[in-house]
Subunit: 236 residues, 2 copies
Amino acid sequence: MNISAAAEGFSAEPKTLVESAYRALRRDIIEGTLAPGEKLRVEHLKDNYGVGAGTLREALSLLIADALVVSQGQRGFRVSPVSLEDFGDITRTRVMLECEALRQSIAIGDDAWEANLVGAFHRLAKAEEKRIGSDAREEWEERNRIFHEVLIAACPSRWLKHFLSILYYQAERYRRLSLYLQPIPRDIHAEHEALLQAAIKRDADQAAALLAEHILMTFRSIEAIPSEELNRKPAA
Amino acid sequence: MNISAAAEGFSAEPKTLVESAYRALRRDIIEGTLAPGEKLRVEHLKDNYGVGAGTLREALSLLIADALVVSQGQRGFRVSPVSLEDFGDITRTRVMLECEALRQSIAIGDDAWEANLVGAFHRLAKAEEKRIGSDAREEWEERNRIFHEVLIAACPSRWLKHFLSILYYQAERYRRLSLYLQPIPRDIHAEHEALLQAAIKRDADQAAALLAEHILMTFRSIEAIPSEELNRKPAA
DNA sequence: TAATTTAAAAATCTCGAGAAAACGTATTGA
DNA sequence: TCAATACGTTTTCTCGAGATTTTTAAATTA
């Protein structure tokens, strides 16, 4: 998640309660269980997540790094609010950074990278087959994230990848918040496949164009939803 | 610093001890008082900064967001290590993002923005005159940061500005770490002035080129320093 | 001597309780 | 009726002390 995380292998098993709470909270925010703008009362939440108040505060502090939580001095923590404007910003910034990272990745990536990419695409495709059930959905989300991650894995810029990781989770949250409104209508599988082919052909221009369209598409589909619907889960 | 900070007016007076400790620690890391890679023992530091252990841990957690501190589960906190490679990455990423932000700012900025820019440049120039003393140096650093901030202030992307804020502090740390090795030889004033003129003339291409050169110059001057010198302050 | 084991020391991580601030409600007055 | 004030409740913020884990150092053995 954060840059130290990527560096230190943070993504292994959680070793401390702080990290467990951090992950549980992050999942709940991205899934929408904790609604945008909702107040995060430490005294209540510490029981839900089975940790002490100090520990929970620390986990919440870490989530500020991911911009999933905001805090105002002496007024506690809140889930970051959402807005169409913000999602637009996230989308445009992501297009800009991710296309650049993809170009670098395509330019530098070796055979091992290609192999990883094909593997990630295959695992994603497998997850697309079994469409039913909440677990299957979680699995698809995870593999989709990894596919995007592997696409830019050969990009040498740790900072670019760090920022993109933050933006990806942000975008995932928006995607999920709007999901109960609209089932996935697009042929995402075809988009991913075209992306894979372009990457392997080392056609950076085409790959970047496909990626940009891929990312923008999600935004457009959500943008089309009437704003009243989006604000149904109130910002507390 | 973090995106909530920008949003919530975090930059006013510190309202909690956590925030005071956060700022003091951030300053000490950027200035180099706390050396790269140095272990940050909570039990020791809590006395230095006059806060409890839990409070200090929370402040350190916030610094992870800025990538000035890293943590390994069960093995405490450390000041983020430095490397020439990392500084190169920071520089290139910053060039990419800041040029884009500047273009947008120039395209959108109105008269008020221009006025702010002229004002920021003027304050910076004033600070350049009185070159002596540690306070004068601090003042110059602050005004230099604000000048760069105002340059891109009209850019509508909060995320771009958020990432740039992080990168700016990172770059400032590198600049200061190498400062005792080399006094500022370049005519930075002239660079800033040219930048200002290009911005006001709304010449986005020229402004972006000047900005890129401006940022890259600092990297080159540090890159030229033999690596033994840079590693003089060991990474613990 | 070098490697392994053991034990002491230090540091991290965690929790619960107390002070300060913010919030909500009821009361008062115009 | 509305605004302002005062009070009580809730919540945040903060600290110190105890349980695990890591680190350091010494002792033992091959």
